[in-house]
Point group: C2
Chain length 455, copies 2
Amino acid sequence: MSEKDVTRKLAAWISACRIDDIPQSVRDEGVRTFFNWMGCAVGGARHETVDRALAGITPFAGRPQATVIGRGEKLDVPNTALINGISSHVLDYDDTHLKTIIHPAGPVASALLAVAEYRPVSGRDFLEALILGVEVECRIGNAVYPDHYDRGWHITGTAGVFGAAAAVGRLIGLDELRMTWALGIAATQASGLREMFGTMCKSFHPGSAAKNGALAAFLAEAGFDSSLQGIEAPRGFANVLSTKQDYAEILDGLGTRWEAGLNSYKPFACGIVIHPAIDGCQQLREELGDDVNRITAVKLRTHPLVLELTGKRTPKTGLETKFSVFHAAACALLRGDGSPTAFTDEAATAPEIIALRDRVDATSDASVHEASVHITVELSDGRTIEKWVEHAIGSLDRPLGNEQLARKFAHQSELVVGPAVTAELMELCWALPILPDAGEIARASVPAAARRAAE
Amino acid sequence: MSEKDVTRKLAAWISACRIDDIPQSVRDEGVRTFFNWMGCAVGGARHETVDRALAGITPFAGRPQATVIGRGEKLDVPNTALINGISSHVLDYDDTHLKTIIHPAGPVASALLAVAEYRPVSGRDFLEALILGVEVECRIGNAVYPDHYDRGWHITGTAGVFGAAAAVGRLIGLDELRMTWALGIAATQASGLREMFGTMCKSFHPGSAAKNGALAAFLAEAGFDSSLQGIEAPRGFANVLSTKQDYAEILDGLGTRWEAGLNSYKPFACGIVIHPAIDGCQQLREELGDDVNRITAVKLRTHPLVLELTGKRTPKTGLETKFSVFHAAACALLRGDGSPTAFTDEAATAPEIIALRDRVDATSDASVHEASVHITVELSDGRTIEKWVEHAIGSLDRPLGNEQLARKFAHQSELVVGPAVTAELMELCWALPILPDAGEIARASVPAAARRAAE
């Protein structure tokens, strides 16, 4: 499908749309998107991927304009966006637009929050820009998915740079022409290869998208021009990076159909294929109470991908436990835990978890959907209990509620910045729509001692 | 074609190769590559594209580590590399690897010179890194050209980022593993769309490649890892961005076959299709002497692309004259000029040029090669003189000599920084192989007054 003026029409809409035009349910989802992103960014802030990225870029960083989340270093806006984008994705625990597998918040929120400390804005304006940015990247993703992804592009990077450009462009008030340029400058920076999965470069993609998208907006503001057909031209983004170009996904129903309302949030800090097993085992723990200690056998019937991707029988390290459905099931039964603390070196070597883990068995069954699992638990008193999970928690059919999002946030954040900072930070994130200064949230993510040291 | 360990083998070679292993003729070409690049970077330094890019990024720039060529602003290393990459390409007057249409120096030299001011190196080490960087980008270009270019990628950006990463990685002494990571981090940033031709984003591509390639090298140095098969993996650069993957072009004859020795330099500051006409008219001017004032008619037989791309009959501005073969022929006959001064508003409106321009006629002839032209000149005394140009000057068959490169340099540079700075700068560039501190060249590109103002 070809179309004229896709980029200009999209830019015109971004420049004109106001938060009053956005349905309340979408605004609420925007706050949840931001809340979940912030928890992940704090949770990942001390990962060695972040340490190394900071070591690499700090010698070249500019004025202390914005705050590295959960740590307190101050960098210039684009470099802060890069680092916070890495932190928020490094644990693979962030949000997912399930239709495209885009992780929408990483590129958009990382860019916006850094800009918000440089050019202060209200939480209301921030939320408006965030929702527009998410909407833009998911729509562009829809237009090229799945061909684009199948070819090998990490769509969070390639679509994300448009989201960041749109969001920052909105926040700094670009007019239609400059917004068109910003989308074009974003288009010509679109990058990120799926080959990088499993390396530090994976989380570099949303970070780069945030940084380059922000740069696109600021260059456009300064009059740096670009093609006016960056998305749809014969040698533009959609044709060069994809064999599918469904421009109706970009332009149809702007302002009435909201992709930004379809975001989802991972309940567990591991690959999505283990989620049904953890979900079922947590439910069994609720039902069994102390009887979890009398379990003699656990039998899982799962989609074949589960054993293919997460079939490690005897994980020795925290990282290895993320690829062991046996460990994950045992830890969920004994501790009820699927958060980052379930996948640490401590958990990997805990004797009681190892003992139960070795009594977990799994068989592949192609008739079981990826989002489902069948679990049978045998107890020492001879009882047998069964559990069928149709839709794992965190899917659009069973979204995490706000309390669950808060538990997820706290679980991650408390390990990095402690309970006091975590409590204050969560409160600020929920209050985003009424905050006078959105940038305050970035500064509140840092422990007081680090705040003083940074000043 | 598939191949194992392309990236690692290439990285191993980059890390191990020493300038003593490089033939003298290739080293000489490396100096010419650098010399030509510097003249173009000074020549483009005051272009509004550079002004706007600087306005956009300066608020975020870091410590004053490196010098903006021909101007004197001091920025951090990556942002300096960005700006100098833009300056050197903005006039479309830089070097060309004719097999791939890569402009090799922009990404590589822009990154290296900025790094050389931050971590001082000898001119000899600088030249070594420059040649290796050019070699890497042209070999990777060969592996995917023409499919990759035909699909819509601006190959100077996509291959250039590898060249910059390799060159900077060599300069800072990355070992084989880290060099492999640097190439991977480069691969996942490869970008730049041909749709941007004719906009400011075109010269942004070599600038971004320089910046992102340098960043890749510094991240790898800090231990930021990447895939070890960034180029050849099923979801790596060559498969995702091209339908052709000829890995032999990358690995065969490393150290014996030198693409870096095949660089070429544009003699004229305009699209390559007008070059034969300017070349022939300059030759006619030499032969005719004062009789150029007695010309009554000029008839050109040219490849059809010439009229298609440069058929403007009455150009009104300097920019428009770049698309008028009539203007270019008249200016070459009357002034012998094909440099930037031939394509100014002054030249566009000069009465004597307009008068002759209106007596130039051109006909398309599909039997005439793109590098050729047939010219007939009629004089008021009844004489008719013919000129056949087989290979225009600047092609590999008729490369510019060092004196011609010097004239080209001076023509551009004197307009921006004056004759004294230009003379000193040219001397330093020729002396690159024996300079104790290569970064000195960047500082010498700035007029003394601007040097003092920047300090």
